[in-house]
Symmetry: C2
Subunit: 205 residues, 2 copies
DNA sequence: TAAAAACTGTACTTACGGTACAGTAAAATC
DNA sequence: GATTTTACTGTACCGTAAGTACAGTTTTTA
């Protein structure tokens, strides 16, 4: 079992890089198996078709993301009791993490899939939607905690505000890629942080 | 000339929809010519290869965008003399425009190209970069005008703030697609507006 | 009416997604 | 230690797509 899932992981790793660079439709199975030094039959042993590869890629990506976010915001929670300040610390940590990616964020699979939706079956499209809703819930819970203590200085919908976190990251990845400047994403996260700070800071500041 | 450029436009229109739905690599020339009811030879008369189609698509898209943004922010400028309030009006108008797109924003070609960069030649990658810099300059000029009158309540880099406008739109398009809710993009634009408002409003508010 | 523009038609090459299926080496299970 | 399962290899094949080449034809414009 160990050897098999090792090969599977290698295939997924190679495919992920290729998909984020060229898009799913432009990534050929032939190039994946060439890089993985495996035969086509070997590939189809692991994934019955390209759609199954797509799904496995997405599931793996989502799990990795969730783990990273859990870890980061748990740490920020340990650094400060107050939900607002803890979240502001979390955003700073996130920005720093994005800054440390030497060649920039490689890209978000959810975003690439959204921009190529017609290539995927309903199951995959539902997965991207549910993932985005999980992100929303994560940050919505945070903002619920914050508003229990700090009243917002402008009337905003908290689901929209929660979406703004994902929105900033997704937009920042694109802007970083477009400008070929990995620094854009972390700086945009810091701007989001500035908004949260202004929005919830007590009036006398 | 009229008939030729008419066919060319038709090809570009069909290609744009397909590329935004499936990505460039997954859009076949055969499907484009089938929809346009033209032969393959006819296609290659207009575009010598797929890369030339990609470039023409992008150039056309950029020109359309620029025209729309010019029009919108010129109108908002006419509605209010003050640069801050004029910009806030412009963002509201933009949000309304996004809301009126019945099936949501079809997607940004710059974003799809960024997520499939390895498919395109250097010239196209430079084009996406320069376009993003033009967007930056547009909003940077606006924020320069605003800061001449209103001091920012938090220390922010104005280029970053200018990028935040594009960032919000690019992210909003992805979030709208992921959640299958066209309303996300306009609501995110309104959140950006809320930030600009908080950031530049005189302290007593 | 001549020339340029805008195509059609045919034929071919290479690459890719996918199928089918027989065979095999290594690892886990009984 | 034999057997089954896992994880592959190898070969051969099909349909579709991108792209090339080039000769011929219609339509528009000068």
């Amino acid at each position: 079992m160990a050897k098999g899932s090792e090969t599977r992981e290698r295939l997924l790793g190679i495919a992920e890089v290729a998909v984020l660079e060229k898009g799913f439709g432009a990534t050929s199975i032939d190039e994946i198996i060439a890089a993985a030094e495996i035969t086509k039959s070997g590939f189809f042993y692991h994934f019955k078709d390209k759609n199954h590869l797509a799904r496995a890629l997405l599931v793996r990506y989502i799990e990795k993301e969730e783990f990273i976010l859990d870890d980061l915001f748990n740490r920020s929670r340990e650094l400060h009791d107050d939900p607002l300040h803890s979240f502001l610390i979390g955003l700073k940590l996130f920005a720093e993490m994005m800054e440390d990616l030497s060649s920039g964020h490689p890209g978000c699979l959810v975003a690439t899939y959204c921009y190529q939706e017609r290539l995927f079956d309903q199951e995959i499209r539902d997965l991207t939607r549910e993932t985005t809703l999980v992100w929303r819930k994560r940050f919505r819970d945070t903002f619920d905690e914050i508003t229990e203590i700090y009243p917002a200085r402008d009337s905003v919908d908290l689901d929209d505000l929660a979406d703004m976190v994902s929105n900033t990251v997704e937009g920042g990845i694109i802007m970083s890629k477009a400008l070929r400047d990995p620094g854009v994403l972390p700086r945009q996260v810091m701007l989001l942080r500035s908004y949260i700070k202004l929005l919830f800071s007590p009036t006398r500041n």
